[in-house]
């Protein structure tokens, strides 16, 4: 699964980098002067205490917030700001901290909605639902059913997502993001509020996505066990500033990180 467009980037090369990015809301600094990169094919964790600016960072990467300073380079193209549709078109997909599913739609329709960018039949054909529109609808239904099988949610495809339990909602949301066949998958606390079993399931899905499809993953997570097990590299933010960057082991033993988590005055 691969998004089209842009230059081909080899595994291990830099897929996305942010350089000296700063973002503030009316004087409150959410992110200040942060730089890091995400390499193709890796699982990159962004961690930090509450209010560290992690979600703001994801919002900057996929163009929802526009930073006041700094640059973002994605697949070789450098911008001072990303736009949401550019990010989506370029192959950045996203899940959200507080599940942001389309509540009135079924699980199937939610995941189908993830295929929007890849469907091109015009309104005329859609209105008649014959020819290209029907062909396309069936073709993409096949792809979506593959995702449904992969996530083992066959039995809930016709259920409106608002009626699903939280763990399954998170899974459907992952499905919706996968339907975009992203090159870079941003996961905002994919395991928040889950029990151990659900966390293990979700970890397995993340690893599988990374392994089988070669999708690059950037995730925010609070469960340190999960972070240390899953990720290849970790960047640590605190109060909007980057305090550490490296492999899980390096980060674990970094004094600044320990201080930040234990709350040493600075």
């Amino acid at each position: 699964m691969r998004a089209t467009g842009g230059p081909e980037i080899a595994v291990g090369d830099v897929l996305l980098s942010v350089e000296a990015v700063s973002l503030s809301f009316g004087g409150v600094k959410a992110v200040s002067d942060v730089s890091f990169d995400i390499r193709k094919g890796e699982i990159r964790a962004i961690i930090g205490p509450n209010g560290a600016g992690k979600t703001s960072m994801l919002n900057i990467i996929n163009g929802f917030y526009h930073p006041q300073h700094g640059r973002i380079t994605f697949k070789g193209a450098t911008r001072s700001r990303m736009r949401p549709h550019e990010a989506a078109r370029g192959g950045i997909a996203r899940t959200f901290q507080n599940v942001a599913l389309f509540k009135g739609m079924t699980a199937l329709d939610n995941i189908m909605a993830g295929r929007t960018l890849k469907m091109h039949a015009n309104l005329f054909w859609q209105m008649l639902r014959v020819g290209p529109a029907l062909k396309e609808e069936i073709e993409h239904r096949h792809r979506v059913e593959e995702i449904i099988d992969f996530l083992k949610i066959q039995d809930i495809r016709r259920v409106p997502v608002a009626r699903l339990p939280y763990g399954l909602q998170k899974r459907v949301e992952l499905g919706r993001a996968l339907a975009m066949e992203p090159e870079l998958l941003l996961l905002d606390e994919p395991m928040a509020g889950m029990n151990l079993e659900e966390k293990e399931d979700m970890s397995r899905f993340v690893l599988d996505v990374n392994d089988h499809f070669g999708t690059t993953v950037a995730l925010i997570e609070h469960d340190m066990g999960v972070v240390m097990d899953l990720s290849d590299r970790v960047v640590v933010l605190d109060h909007g500033i980057k305090i550490a960057d490296g492999t899980p082991d390096e980060v674990k033993n970094n004094q600044a990180v320990i201080d930040a988590y234990l709350g040493v005055a600075h």
Binding site: F25, N59, F64, F96, Q97, N98, A100
Partner: protein, 309 residues
């Protein structure tokens, strides 16, 4: 000087008419600030309060009570009706809909509007009832400066004074009383207010009651001006553009918005009306609001919204 005198006359009458819009808009802002509900029923509440007042008053006068006594009975009765309405709305409509999104609540208040409009007219009658509370003749000012003077209608001045008193009263209520402070707390954060022991049911009842009393005040002025009748609810709809212009959450915004709309539509009618056909007043406020929305979505005095996800 004739032209300028005429302009002043239009401007003054427009501003004073605008005060009346502000009066209804105030009711909207109160409810929106405290409960996040955009109360479409505010106009219907003006009609209900007016009908209750005028019918009780007429009945008392017919029974031989002196006029001032009948007015007091009418006001008390109308206030009682408004508190009952506030209770019923809170208990049966908004209570069960707590935590729903704004659009659902808005549609529910459209439902409430229809219940009140139908119910009020079934109970109190559906005709035009004159309400002679305030003098309706006019003063002529600056007769020496301008030829013919500037015509200022007394009822409009009364309306202005009443609105001023009301605003001061509300400000005191919000700043100085315990309930008023609780109201502001609820407006800031529902959950936090509940956690320190403020009862939401009670607060919302109070909010609707205050909005009902504001409607009663508006009804006294409008009823005198136009007679108490169904079309009052349409005038109340103009409070919507007033709020858009002023911003939903701002009391000063409601007042300034009302003045802008009142003066703007009178001036537009007087100066543009002849060239593009009369009756601009009918839509001017809405189109002005649309223009403001496009330039400044949060209104002139509203707070900017930061979206989060």
């Amino acid at each position: 000087m004739v032209a300028f005198g005429q302009f002043l006359e239009v401007l003054i009458s427009g501003l004073l008419a605008g005060v009346l819009y502000s009066l209804v808009a105030l009711g909207f802002v109160l409810i929106f600030k405290a409960s996040g509900v955009f109360n479409f029923a505010q106009g219907a509440m003006v009609l209900l309060a007016g009908l209750a007042l005028v019918r009780a008053l007429d009945l008392m006068v017919a029974k031989g009570m002196p006029f001032w006594g009948a007015v007091i009975v009418g006001l008390v009765f109308a206030a009682a009706v408004m508190s009952l309405t506030a209770y019923l709305v809170e208990r049966f409509v908004l209570g069960p809909l707590v935590n729903q999104d704004g659009l659902t609540l808005f549609m529910a208040t459209i439902g409430v509007t229809f219940i009140i409009e139908g119910g009020a007219q079934m109970l109190f009658g559906a005709e035009v009832y004159p309400l002679p509370l305030f003098p309706t003749d006019a003063w002529f000012l600056f007769e020496k400066t301008f030829e013919g003077g500037i015509l200022v209608s007394k009822i409009d001045v009364w309306g202005g004074m009443i609105a001023a008193v009301l605003v001061v009263g509300l400000a005191l209520f919000f700043q100085r009383t315990k309930t008023g402070r609780a109201l502001r707390a609820v407006a800031d954060d529902h959950a936090a207010a509940q956690s320190v022991g403020i009862s939401l049911d009670w607060i919302w009842f109070i909010v609707w009651l205050v909005a009902g009393l504001v409607a009663l005040v508006a009804a006294t002025v409008w009823g005198t001006k136009l007679g108490v009748q169904f079309s009052i609810t349409f005038l109340a709809l103009k409070a919507l553009p007033v709020l858009i212009i002023g911003g939903f959450t701002s009391v000063p915004g409601a007042i300034v918005g009302g003045l802008i709309v009142g003066a703007g539509e009178k001036i537009a009618e007087a100066y543009l009306g002849p060239s593009i056909g009369g009756g601009i007043e009918y839509w001017f406020a809405y189109v002005l609001a649309l223009a403001v929305l496009l330039a400044r979505p949060q209104g002139l005095f509203g707070e900017r919204i930061i979206e989060r996800i």
